[in-house]
Structure formats: structure tokens, C-alpha cells
């Protein structure tokens, strides 16, 4: 058994060497093999791109992101300086700073996304998850939060306070330009 198979192998090795027609056939074979590989690569790319297209498209946020959502909070005069009013429906806190400026602050803690709570006694926003604290203007008072609270643009028209809740702005620190004055 063993001897015969060895003989077979030597015969097949000799076979490869023969005739120019055979080499032509071999050329054609290698060419076709390359074509197959190329087609395979294209197919793989297609599958990958379809997969990612499938993952990233068709999300609801894509549909509504362009629309501006304006939330009407109320009259300027109804908010006292140095107070905070919660607008759960709009998912923001409207803060009126001591100097009378307005800021609309996001509910979401910048640390890990929990909802912050305004503690009037301490004049601080407190995050219940990891005890981060923020001042009335959203500035970090106590870590671990790495950045000041996100905020929404405030628009004041005809003595009314409106908040553009479709646009959430991020920042690392508080500065005066983020405040809107009546």
C-alpha cells in the first residue's frame, strides 16, 4: 500500500512538467483564481458596508434632529434671581443667576448620565449616583464629574423665556457668554 502511493506521487510530479498546452492551462487557472479572490474581497466589503449601514441608519434621532424644538418656560418676571425651576417635561432646569441672567441646564450629570437634583438649602445640584455637585451655573463644585453641566440656548422674546431643547451644548467650564440676559 505505502509503496504504491509513493509511486503515485512521483508520477504526478512528473506530469506537471509536460507540454506547453498544460502551462497555458495553468496560467488560465491562476488567473481565474485571482478573479475569484478579487470577487470575494468585493463581496466581503459589500457585506461589511451593508452591516454598518444597517447599524447606523434608521434611528429615530436622525429623523428629528433637524427640527428646532422650542420650549416656552414662562414670563421673565416669574423667575426670581438666585432660584432654580425644574422643567421635567423639557428635561432641563431653568436657573436664574444672582445677577438676573438665565441658563437652561441639562438634567444629565456629566459623569455617568444620572439625573441631578437641585438642593435649595445648599444651592447646589447634586448627582445621586456618585455625589458630584454643581453650582447654580452648572460649574463643578465637587468631583467626580469631569465637566460643567450641558446647557440649552435660552431665547428671551417679548418678556418670555424660551428654551431651544433640540440643541444641547457641551462645555468644560462655565463662562459668562453662556448666560442670557433679559
Amino acid at each position: 500500500m505505502k509503496k504504491k502511493s509513493k509511486k503515485d506521487r512521483t508520477e504526478s510530479v512528473e506530469k506537471v512538467k509536460i507540454s506547453p498546452a498544460e502551462t497555458k492551462l495553468e496560467d488560465r487557472r491562476t488567473f481565474l483564481r485571482k478573479v475569484w479572490k478579487g470577487l470575494g474581497a468585493i463581496a466581503a466589503l459589500e457585506v461589511v458596508s451593508v452591516f454598518f449601514g444597517f447599524l447606523f441608519s434608521g434611528k429615530e434621532e436622525d429623523v428629528e434632529s433637524t427640527t428646532k424644538q422650542i420650549f416656552e418656560a414662562g414670563n421673565v418676571s416669574s423667575f426670581q434671581p438666585d432660584t432654580v425651576t425644574a422643567f421635567r417635561g423639557g428635561r432641563f432646569y431653568l436657573a436664574r443667576l444672582e445677577d438676573g441672567g438665565f441658563m437652561a441646564l441639562s438634567l444629565r450629570c456629566t459623569h455617568l448620565g444620572c439625573s441631578i437634583i437641585w438642593e435649595d438649602a445648599k444651592k447646589n445640584f447634586i448627582c445621586p449616583c456618585h455625589s458630584s455637585a454643581f453650582g447654580i451655573n452648572g460649574e463643578v463644585k465637587n468631583p467626580p464629574a469631569p465637566a460643567a453641566l450641558d446647557y440649552y440656548p435660552v431665547i428671551i422674546e417679548n418678556g418670555k423665556v424660551k428654551v431651544d431643547i433640540g440643541t444641547r451644548l457641551t462645555r468644560s467650564r462655565f463662562n459668562k457668554s453662556q448666560v442670557e440676559y433679559a
Binding site: E61, P128, P143, P146
Partner: protein, 432 residues
Amino acid sequence: MQSSVNNTKPKRFSGILLHLHPQLINERALIFNRTFGLGGMAALLIVLQFITGIMLRLYYEPFPQKAYDSIIFLQSNVLFGQLIRNIHHWSGVFLIIIAFLHLLRVFFTGGYQSSRKVNWIIGLVLLLLIIGSNFTGYLLPWDQLAYWAVTVGTSLFEYIPFIGTTLKQLMLAGDEVNAQTLLIFYNFHTAVFPILLLLLMAYHFWRVRKAGGIILPNKDEGKKTVPTFPNLVYKEFVVALALIAVILTFSLFFSAPLLTKANPDFSLNPTKAPWYFAGIQELLMHFHPFIAAFFIPALIVISLLVLPFLKNNEVHNGVWFFSEEAKAAAKFSAYSALTITPVLIVMNEYLPKLDTLLPSINSFLTNGLMPLIILLLIIWLYYKFVSKKYELSQIGKVQTMFVFITTAFIVLTIIGIFFRGVDMKLAFPWNL
């Protein structure tokens, strides 16, 4: 030879089991405390999860308006509904603990070297899949606990550099946990992860057989073999029954938690991550999120992955803790970590913090890099100290540092679960 095998050839039912095991096994492999049956227990728990999971699927509805109510319905109107949910819950808890103990067993008996290298990696992937299954399952009850734990858990991903934000948005299909998120988690929990687990488990078992069964010490080379059936199979059966009894007892006396329905406006106080992430959550109390949620966990996973490929001329072959010397060092490291970790946590809690002392400097430096450097310095000094004290070989050194860091992580996890109260301040468990 041929006839002796024929004599012991098992029939019918036992024959199926022998697809997992060889017909004959080394007598020494039967000793219970070589493995404590941990791998088998993990496999059994996964089977339990499949059965109870399919049962739960018959009643669960993966939509925010319906999910919570469907669980209430299951618990109050379905015969044994509450019990089945409890079994599913407790099996999940036990599965993580037992898979972790299995990892420890394999590590301490040296089952990650030579022909078992790949299987160590497969095992780690299986552990990650188990954690992934647990985490995706955590959201499904759609109560306050689920909603906020997943909010916190997925926010951790934001701190992975470059891809973090995209990854989180892909997972949640948006910025916050929403209806799409629930559907995604449901599908991963009940389809993607189970299938991957099943495939990898089969491969894991096959590689154990390829490696010649469980790892056995070289010395006192006994080669006497005995038929697997009934010698091993009966032992496994007893372990399985005992485990099922424990799970059932737990499920009868302790119900799976269910708080009020999820409310995106109000976070729980305290909001805690799922219990197996409590160690990371505790790190978050002390480090910048990039360090706590990404850098340190990534370092640990990478260390575990490269462990089998460290250059090494020693063979750790099946002897618990390698050598008497290494065992003593490991014990010492466990005690050290057990004292150092709580001391550091309490110090960090009550001493003034760097970032409040130096508010003008970026919090990534004061709360991230500086504490990390202090931590690495402590670990390095400890390493120098312990290598000098015990004159360890390389395996001994790796083992002692593994024990040091693992113990520290267990301490962090226990503190995160049991010693964090309102506002995440340190508190005793009886005051929570």
C-alpha cells in the same frame, strides 16, 4: 486491550455523556478538590439559564410600555412565574461567581500553559460573554434599578478613547436608554450571546479533552485508569443535584428585585451599577472616569490575555499554588491587599482631594493621572518588597501579584455593594 475497553463500554444514556468525557480517565483526576467541579457547575448553570430563559420569553414583552407590566403579570398570575424568574436571577448571579472561581482554580493550578493557552483565552472570552449576558439582562425588567444601572453602565463606555461615544450611541441607539435600547439588549440577551456562548462552550470542552483532560501534577506519576461511567459521571451528578438544590433554596426564600417602573427623570439615590461592576463603580469614586472605567479594567483584561504568553521556563503543572514558598507569598499578598485597600479608600474619602486643593489644574491630571501614579507606585513598591521577602521564581511572582490585585478588586467590589449608602457615602451595611 480491545476486550477490556469493550467490557467497560457504557450503553444508551451514559453513552451520550461520554461525548464530553473519554471512556477511561486517570484515577487521580477524580479527586474533588482538584477542580471543585467548578467548570461543570458553570455549564450546568448555563443550561438552567437556557431553560428558564426560554420560559420567561413566553411571557416577556420587550417594549417600554409593556415590559414592566409583563413581569408583574408573570409574577402574580403565572403558576411558578415568580419562582422561574428567581431561578433565572440567582443562576445568573451564581454563574458569574462560579465562572470567576473557575478562572481562579485554573490560574492557581497552572492550567493556562502549553497546550492549554488557547483554552485560557476562550475561557476569558466566555467570562466576558457571561458578563455581557448578565448586563443585557439587567435592563429587561425596565424598573428603576434596571434603567439607572444600565444608564450608568453604558455611560462608562463614553470614556473609551476615540470610539467610546460612537460605541455607546450604537448600544443605546441614541443618547439615553430608550425603546430601541430595550430591543437591542433583548436581542443580545436572548439570541446573540446565548448562541456565542453555546458555540464557544463546545469548543472549550473539546480543547479540554484535546489537552488530555483536567490538569494533573507530574510527580507521583500514577497512571491507573478507571471507567468514566460510573466513577466520574456519578460524582458530577451529585454536584449537579447539590447545586440545583442550592439555587432552588435561594429562589424560594429570596425574590429577584423589582422596584417601581423606570422613570428617566428621577435617579435612585444611591444609583448603583450591577453588582459585578461594583468594583469599577468604587474605582469611579476615586479616579477620573477614563482611569477607572477604561484604563484599569483594560489593563486587567490585557494582563489576563497575555498571561499564557509570558516568557517563562518553568512549568506550573497542576499543583495548587505552585510551591510552598509561592503559596506563603500568595497568602501574605491576600492579607496585605485586604488591609491596604480599605485604608486607601477611607483615606481618599475623608482627606481633602487633590482636585479641590488644586482647582485650577485640569481634573484629568489631579483626579486621574496623579492618583494613578500613586497607585502604580504602591503596587511597584509592594512588588519589590514581596519579591525580596520571599525570593520567588517568576511563576511565584506573577501569582503573588495576581493575588494582590484580585484581592484588592474583590475588596472594592464588596465595599461598592455593601458599604455605599445615600449619596454614595461610606456607610455600614446595617445603616443602608
